[in-house]
Subunit: 423 residues, 2 copies
Amino acid sequence: MALIVHKYGGTSMGSTERIRNVAKRVAKWVRAGHRLVVVPSAMSGETNRLLALAKEVSPEKATPETMRELDMIAATGEQVSVGLLALALQAEGVPAVSYTGWQVPVKTDSAYTKARIESIDDARVRADLAAGKVVIITGFQGIDDDGHITTLGRGGSDTSAVAVAAAMKAAECLIYTDVDGVYTTDPRVVPEARRLHAVSFEEMLEMASLGSKVLQIRSVEFAGKYRVPMRVLSSFTPWDIPIDEEARSGTLITFEEDENMEQAVVSGIAFNRDEAKVTIMRVPDRPGIAYQILGAVAEANIDVDVIVQNVSHDGKTDFSFTVHRNDYARTIDLLKSKVGPAVGAGEVTGDARICKVSIVGIGMKSHVGIAAKMFRTLADEGINIQMITTSEIKTSVVIDEKYMELAVRALHKAFDLEQPQPA
Amino acid sequence: MALIVHKYGGTSMGSTERIRNVAKRVAKWVRAGHRLVVVPSAMSGETNRLLALAKEVSPEKATPETMRELDMIAATGEQVSVGLLALALQAEGVPAVSYTGWQVPVKTDSAYTKARIESIDDARVRADLAAGKVVIITGFQGIDDDGHITTLGRGGSDTSAVAVAAAMKAAECLIYTDVDGVYTTDPRVVPEARRLHAVSFEEMLEMASLGSKVLQIRSVEFAGKYRVPMRVLSSFTPWDIPIDEEARSGTLITFEEDENMEQAVVSGIAFNRDEAKVTIMRVPDRPGIAYQILGAVAEANIDVDVIVQNVSHDGKTDFSFTVHRNDYARTIDLLKSKVGPAVGAGEVTGDARICKVSIVGIGMKSHVGIAAKMFRTLADEGINIQMITTSEIKTSVVIDEKYMELAVRALHKAFDLEQPQPA
């Protein structure tokens, strides 16, 4: 008998038949004595359909005014979903009521198309739960201080669900999706990849930021800030599997660092081949030089990921960073035409055919030699490392794209990730 | 330089190309110096698509809870429209902002799927108009006192537009639709039918209630109550026709009874073949008998239109009324099984193959012999009249359905409706 938040993705809500299955699954939880808040996404394809219509009437570039209208349009996808799910639950004989973001309300800032949640008023939702209703809340959206509709950006419904769970102090936030949990790495690359029963919040955060598509990174940040236990699990199991089995399935994202638990040193291998590397060589090594380079890049609205600057020789240093591949040509051009001459640097080089491979594990905090083991494993495979960055629970390397699968497989094996996780 | 409300129907908003044309038309009015509020319907087919989805998840009968969710779902159609139209106007270089019913807010009662507008707060809209923006407001919907989304029922966007025009004291409310005005009768029945340049509010009200599909009757009632000048005109003229020509096109619904104007005695012929006639015979003629019969019918949720009770003979009278054809079998059954025995009446009879034909004209108030001319015209054609009802500006008869077209054509000719209307 607990307060539980369920979140269902667009595929799970993809047809009226699937919506009826979601309703049956939610009804099962209600009949087991739980109080339920459900956050569904728009039906799959719907957000794309709406944005395509918008593009047809207004192909021009984005302004605050056009982005306000995009949010007005895009927010309807989730509104339809909540209404349909409420109807489906009522048809199951389960009292249910749906609310939009503004009805709750879910307050956000005014950054249209990528707003951030500021607060959630739970009074209305609590009253309905107390009256025995399932409450269904639109994901992906909110309302700003001036009463305009805002959306949270792609994947924002994960964040909505976690934010609601945090505001309501829910016992758990279950993210139902089309995969059955978080894996040690992508099973398409490593067939031996294993589903993790549990993963720490910090590891999940690194994995999400490193390209694992299971959860929107902002939802993980939110879960971490408010210590919301989250579970990623499949919505494609039969709706009538025993509830105890369902409640233990998937992957739990946890905040409990259980001292008694034998923690795996490395939990997963993440990778990303969307990036490109650029280097600006023989930069004068003086205070403010990093800002001079990266300030100009940020001004051009180019996101930078890995940044490496090594010690200098003769007062000159090489400065490297990675950007999204789509921004590669623009970045090279900017460095060659403006930044390089301005700072008095040497040659500008780059490579779009790189990838980033990372090992992630909370156990790295207390174990030495993990990075060294990673480097040795890659060396044994003859893979040259181009860049290295580290954090407390992660070590990332940039290598030639063509070695990506080899590297991931070798690391997966080296860190014993095929072995079952301790219970 | 006036405040004008434009309303565009679903066909006018039926594709992104048409929406761009609507934007060009609105932009023309703005460039001519007017301030514009625009109320568009959902894109044609969209409301049906949404309600079909709802029906798929919940085929059960309507309850207040299911109707609340239907409104939640259906309201999204107009929300998409306003956003798209705002984008299209911005792409035309015209500042524009869209609002949903709850953002204005348009306050309604809580009768989901057929709510009535109670008040409109125009502060926000006025501020945007003063800032030089076109304001686009969702038709068909509002918000009740508890913050739930409501819709006004089919055709409700006409009412929204007139209500906004009334609240804003607009100079005129232009209803753009797929016909080019109000006709003396349906041109599919009488090819000589003529478009009226102007029609009085009372006549329009009768025509709408008698089955003319041009305007939702509630919008005409609203226009009458607040004396909003309305014009019905075509959205399929080229968007760039001269604005003076466009402003004089279609049919004006007016409140000015111009003494100097030669008023046509009869303005139009309305007809309706959706009805069926039932008669309960030899009812004891005592106080309360009409209530005993019609109370039971109302309780069964059956709408009654024409009611006729004539003088009694031997303390007994025949009581007739018409209902929608869909309710015919149910009504007959109710009268035979319950009402008849309860009131001690004789036989129950009925006929589903009837039609109602009406002449409507404000001139009937001051001209005698109009009804008589109608009856003589029908007699000359050998058409038997089964029921008659009259109001100040209308006379309706119920006749055999097979004579409908003959009756309409004969009456159209007898009252000189082919002749051009006095300017």
